[in-house]
C-alpha cells in the first residue's frame, strides 16, 4: 500500500508527504477515488448500455413496464449505507488522531494578522511568514488571530485549522521529511488573502537548534514574568495564598473549584478567559473583584502571561509541555515519529 501511494506521488496529483498524517490521508483519498470511479463508471456504463440496447425502435413503442423491486431497493439502500459508515469511521478515526493533542510536544504560538503569520518559539525566537520546525518532533501550534478569521494550512502536512479572533485553536503534526513547504492562509481574510502565504521549513533537530540560537530573544515565560509585575498582577496574586486573588503557583494543569460549585481545569483557555473576562469563572471563596484586561494586553502578551503561569504551574509535567525554561535547552530526545497519544482533547479548541 505504501508502494501504491508512493507511485502516485511521482505524478503531480498530490503534494509531498512531509508529516506523519500525510500517508494515511493520501491512502484514504485514493481509496475514495477508487469508489468514485467505480460508481461513476458503473452508473454511466449501465445507463449507456441500457440506452443503446433499449433505444426507441418505432415511434409508437410502449415498453413493457417494470415495477420497482423491493429486494433491489433494499440492497442499494443497505450496501451504500454500510459503505458510508465505513468511510465515516475511517474519517473520524483520522480526525481523532489530528484532534487529540500529543504530550511533550514542541509548542509554538502563532498569531494571524492581516496579512502575515507570526510565530513564537518556546525560547522566544520569533519569525514572520516562516515556520522552522525540527524533524521527527511533535509540534503543536496554539493559534489566535488579532483581527479576522484566518486558517493555517500546510498542504504537505495535510493539516489545517482556522485561526479565530478571541479564542485559541490548536493543530499538531510530526514533520517527517526535511525540506521547505508551502504555508497558505486558507480562510478568506480580505484583500491580500492570497499574499498571506509563507514557508514551513523542516530541519534536522541540530539545524533547528542552530537556527534557534541566532538573533536576540526573551523566553515567553520570562517576558510574562515581567508583564506580571508591570501589570501589578502580583499585588493580588501572591506567591503564597492570602492575596485578594488565588495564588497562581502550582495551579496550572490542576482542577479548581468555582464559586458556583463546578470545577474547571486550569489551561490556556481558562487563563485567557480570566484575564479578559474575569467574572466568567470565579474561584470559590474569592470575591469577584478582578478588573478586565481587555484591550490592555495584546495576544502575544497574553500568551507570555500564560507561559509564565505555566512555568510556575504543577511541576510533574502534566500541563502538556515541559516548562519553557527546560524547552529552551537543546531538545536532545527526538520524539517517536508515529505519535499515538491517548490524552483526551483539550478544552481550548472547543470553547464556545
Amino acid at each position: 500500500m505504501t508502494l501504491l501511494t508512493s507511485f502516485f506521488l511521482q505524478l503531480p496529483f498530490m503534494p509531498e508527504q512531509a508529516s506523519s498524517f500525510a500517508q494515511e490521508v493520501d491512502l484514504f483519498y485514493l481509496a475514495l477515488w477508487g469508489l468514485t470511479v467505480f460508481f461513476t463508471i458503473g452508473v454511466a456504463l449501465a445507463a449507456g448500455i441500457f440506452m443503446i440496447k433499449y433505444r426507441r425502435k418505432r415511434a409508437g413503442e410502449i415498453p413493457e413496464q417494470v415495477e420497482g423491486a423491493m429486494l433491489l431497493e433494499i440492497t442499494w439502500t443497505v450496501l451504500p449505507f454500510i459503505m458510508a459508515l465505513g468511510i465515516f469511521a475511517w474519517g473520524a478515526k483520522l480526525y481523532y488522531q489530528m484532534y487529540t493533542e500529543p504530550k511533550d510536544a514542541l509548542e509554538i504560538f502563532v498569531t494571524g494578522k492581516q496579512w502575515m503569520w507570526r510565530a513564537q518559539h518556546p525560547d522566544g525566537q520569533r519569525e514572520i511568514n516562516e515556520l522552522h520546525v525540527p524533524l521527527g518532533r511533535r509540534v503543536k501550534l496554539t493559534m489566535t488571530s488579532e483581527d479576522v478569521l484566518h486558517a493555517y494550512f500546510i498542504p504537505a502536512f495535510r493539516t489545517k485549522a482556522d485561526v479565530v479572533p478571541g479564542r485559541y485553536t490548536t493543530t499538531w503534526f510530526v514533520p517527517t521529511k526535511v525540506g521547505t513547504y508551502h504555508l497558505f492562509c486558507a480562510e478568506y481574510c480580505g484583500t491580500q488573502h492570497s499574499g498571506m502565504i509563507g514557508k514551513v521549513i523542516v530541519q534536522e533537530p541540530s539545524d533547528y537548534q542552530a537556527w534557534l540560537g541566532g538573533g536576540t530573544k526573551e523566553p515567553p515565560a520570562a517576558a510574562g514574568q515581567k508583564l506580571f509585575a508591570s501589570l501589578a498582577c502580583n499585588t493580588c496574586h501572591y506567591e503564597k495564598s492570602g492575596g485578594r486573588g488565588p495564588t497562581l503557583v502550582g495551579v496550572y494543569g490542576t482542577d479548581v473549584k468555582l464559586d458556583n460549585g463546578t470545577t474547571v481545569k486550569v489551561d490556556d483557555a481558562y487563563i485567557r478567559e480570566s484575564i479578559l473576562n474575569p467574572m466568567a469563572k470565579v474561584v470559590a471563596t474569592y470575591q469577584p473583584v478582578m478588573p478586565t484586561f481587555q484591550g490592555q494586553v495584546s495576544e502575544e502578551q497574553i500568551a507570555n502571561l500564560i507561559a509564565y503561569i505555566r512555568s510556575i504551574g504543577k511541576q510533574d509535567g502534566d500541563g502538556g509541555t515541559a516548562a519553557p525554561a527546560a524547552a529552551a535547552q537543546p531538545a536532545a530526545k527526538p520524539a517517536a515519529p508515529a505519535a499515538k497519544p491517548a490524552t483526551p482533547p483539550q478544552s481550548g479548541a472547543k470553547q464556545n
Binding site: E61, L72, W90, S194, G195
Partner: protein
C-alpha cells in the same frame, strides 16, 4: 400530424396571446406568465454571473494575479457567488419551471395565491435591483459566505446593502415555497392522490419545506450582520463579547439546506425526463418520492460539516459527519432508481435525455466527492481548497444547471408551442458536458495539491491545471450561449409543437401548447397512476400512423 394541422388552422387564445400590453405582463396573476418573468430575470442574472466567472478564469490563467488588482478580484468572485446562488440557482427551477408546471401537473387553474406569486417576483426584482446597486456602488468583497468579523468590521465594501438585498430576496423564496406547499396540499384535481403526483411535484414539496424553514434563519442572520455593521452592536465581534463562529452556525443552517433547494428540483426534473424519454414508470416511485423528503429533512442537520476546522468540538463534528453520510443514501437511491428506469425502456436520444444522462454521470461524481469532504480527517486537508470548489460546481452546475437546461428543452414546446432545433440542442448539450468536465475536473487535482479558494495569485506549480480549467471554461461558455440563440430562433421559426410532442404522460401534456390562461378547458379528473404510458393517445396515434405507412 393530423392534430397539429387542426390546431394551426384555428387561432386559439392561450396565455401568451391573452394580452399584448406591457401591463398585461407586469400585472399578470397567471402562474405561467410569472414563470416567464422569472425566466427572463434569472437568465439576465445568469449571464452577469457568467461574466464574473469569465473574469475569474481569465485572472487565474497566470499565477501572478496581473489582470486585475487583488481588491477587484475579491469583488469579482464574491459577486459571481452571490449572483449565481441567490439570484440564479435558488430561484432557477422552482420559480421558472415550478411556477409554470406545478398547477398544470396538479390539474389546477393557478397556484393557491396568485397575488403572492406576483409579489414574490417583484420582491425578487427589488432584491436583485438592490444587488445591482451594490455592484454599481463598488460591490462587495467578503465572499458569498459573509464571514464576520471580516464582513462586519474590516471590509470597506457595500456589505450592508448586499445583506439587505439578500434579506429581501429571501422573502421571494419564502413566498414561492409557501405558495407551492399550499398549492400542492389544496389544489390537486379530483383523483390526484399523493402517490399519483409526478415526482417533479414531490421534489418541489421537499424544496418548499426547506425554503420555508431555512430562509428565515439566513434572513435574520444577514439582518444581524447589517445591524452589526451599521450600529456597532457586537453580535459577532469578539472584541465586544460576540462570537464569530455563531455566524457560521446560523449561516450554514440555511446555506447547507439551500444547496438542496438547488439540487432537489433538478432531481425532480430528471425523474420526469427519464420517465418520459424512456416511456417507463420511474423505477421505485415511492423510494424516489420519499428520498426527496429525506434529503430535505436530513439536510437541516448537517450544517456543521462546513466547520470541521473552525474550532467546533470534535463530538459535534462526529454527529454532523455521520448525518451527512445519511443524506448520501437517498441521493444514491435516486441515482440507482433512475438508472434502473432506463432498463427495458424505449429510449429516445433527444436533447432532454442527453441532459438527463449527463446529470446522472456528473451528479454521481459531485455526490461521491461530497463523501470526501464529509470524511472529517480528509476534510481537514480539503477544506477551503479548490477541491471544494470543484465538488460544489459538480453538484450545482453538473447537477442543478444541467437539470434545469434539460427541463427547459423538455418543456420548451409546452411553454412556447414551438420545437427548438433538435440537432443544435444535442450539439450544445455535448459542448456543455465536455466544457464542464474540462473546467472543473482539474480543480479536484489542484485542490488536493493545496490550492486554497479565493486566491487572486497562486504558486506557479498550479498553473498547468488552471490553464486547463480556463480553457474548459471558454468551451462551457459557448455551450451555455448556444441555447439562447436557438431558443430565440425557435419562437419565430420553430415547428409547431402540438399538445404532446414527446408522447409524454402528465396533465401538462393533455392541454394545448401553449396552454390557455386557466390551463384546462375542462376539469381534469385523474383515474390512473403516475407514468402510465398505456393511456397516452399520442403514442397510440404515432403507432397507428406508422402501421399505415408500413402497410
Amino acid at each position: 400530424m393530423a392534430t397539429e394541422v387542426m390546431q394551426s388552422a384555428e387561432p386559439r387564445t392561450n396565455y401568451l396571446n391573452a394580452g399584448h400590453t406591457v401591463k398585461s405582463w407586469l400585472l399578470t396573476l397567471d402562474h405561467k406568465r410569472i414563470g416567464l418573468l422569472y425566466l427572463f430575470s434569472i437568465s439576465a442574472f445568469f449571464f452577469i454571473g457568467g461574466i464574473y466567472a469569465t473574469l475569474i478564469r481569465l485572472e487565474l490563467v497566470t499565477p501572478q494575479g496581473d489582470l486585475m488588482t487583488a481588491e477587484t478580484y475579491n469583488k469579482v468572485f464574491t459577486m459571481h457567488g452571490v449572483i449565481m446562488i441567490f439570484f440564479f440557482l435558488i430561484p432557477s427551477i422552482p420559480a421558472v419551471l415550478g411556477n409554470f408546471l406545478l398547477p398544470l401537473m396538479l390539474g389546477a387553474k393557478d397556484v393557491a395565491f396568485p397575488r403572492l406569486n406576483l409579489l414574490s417576483w417583484y420582491v425578487f426584482i427589488v432584491g436583485g435591483g438592490m444587488f445591482m446597486l451594490t455592484m454599481i456602488n463598488g460591490g462587495i468583497d467578503t465572499g458569498w459566505t459573509f464571514y464576520p468579523p471580516y464582513s462586519s468590521i474590516y471590509s470597506n465594501t457595500q456589505v450592508t446593502l448586499a445583506g439587505v438585498s439578500i434579506f429581501i430576496t429571501g422573502f421571494s423564496s419564502i413566498l414561492t415555497g409557501l405558495n407551492f406547499m399550499v398549492t400542492i396540499h389544496t389544489m390537486r384535481a379530483p383523483g390526484m392522490t399523493w402517490f399519483r403526483l409526478p415526482l417533479f411535484v414531490w421534489a418541489h414539496y421537499a424544496t418548499s419545506l426547506i425554503q420555508i424553514l431555512g430562509t428565515p434563519v439566513v434572513a435574520i442572520t444577514v439582518l444581524a450582520l447589517g445591524f452589526e455593521r451599521t450600529l456597532q452592536i457586537g453580535i459577532f465581534d469578539p472584541k465586544l463579547g460576540g462570537d464569530p463562529v455563531l455566524f457560521q452556525h446560523m449561516f450554514w443552517f440555511y446555506s447547507h439546506p439551500a444547496v438542496y433547494i438547488m439540487i432537489i428540483p433538478s432531481m425532480g426534473v430528471v425523474s420526469e425526463l427519464i420517465a418520459n424519454m424512456t416511456r417507463k414508470r420511474v423505477f421505485g416511485y415511492h423510494f424516489v418520492a420519499f428520498s426527496s423528503l429525506a434529503i430535505a429533512v436530513f439536510g437541516f442537520l448537517v450544517w456543521g460539516h462546513h466547520m470541521f476546522t473552525s474550532s467546533q468540538s470534535m463530538y459535534a463534528g462526529l454527529v454532523f459527519s455521520l448525518i451527512t453520510y445519511a443524506v448520501a443514501i437517498p441521493s444514491a437511491i435516486k441515482t440507482f432508481n433512475w438508472t434502473a428506469t432506463i432498463y427495458k425502456g424505449s429510449v429516445s436520444f433527444d436533447t432532454p435525455m442527453i441532459y438527463a444522462l449527463a446529470f446522472l454521470g456528473l451528479f454521481t461524481i459531485g455526490g461521491m466527492t461530497g463523501l470526501f469532504l464529509a470524511a472529517m480527517g480528509l476534510d481537514v486537508h480539503l477544506h477551503d481548497t479548490y477541491f471544494v470548489v470543484a465538488h460544489f460546481h459538480y453538484v450545482m452546475v453538473g447537477g442543478a444547471i444541467i437539470g434545469y437546461l434539460g427541463g427547459l428543452h423538455f418543456w420548451w414546446p409546452k411553454i412556447t408551442g414551438k420545437m427548438y432545433p433538435e440537432i443544435w440542442g444535442r450539439i450544445s448539450a455535448a459542448i456543455v458536458f465536455l466544457g464542464f468536465n474540462l473546467t472543473f475536473f482539474p480543480q479536484f487535482v489542484v485542490g488536493y495539491l493545496g490550492m486554497p479558494r479565493r486566491y487572486h495569485s497562486y504558486v506557479p506549480e498550479f498553473q498547468v491545471l488552471h490553464i486547463l480549467s480556463s480553457a474548459g471554461a471558454s468551451i462551457l461558455a459557448l455551450g451555455f450561449l448556444m441555447p439562447v440563440f436557438y431558443f430565440a430562433w425557435s419562437i419565430k421559426y420553430g415547428k409547431p409543437a402540438g399538445a404532446n410532442p414527446w408522447g409524454a404522460v402528465g396533465l401538462e401534456w393533455q392541454t394545448p401548447s401553449p396552454p390557455p390562461t386557466e390551463n384546462f378547458t375542462y376539469q381534469p379528473v385523474i383515474t390512473t397512476e403516475a407514468y402510465e404510458f398505456e393511456h397516452v393517445e399520442e403514442i397510440k396515434n404515432a403507432g397507428k400512423a406508422e402501421a399505415l405507412q408500413t402497410a
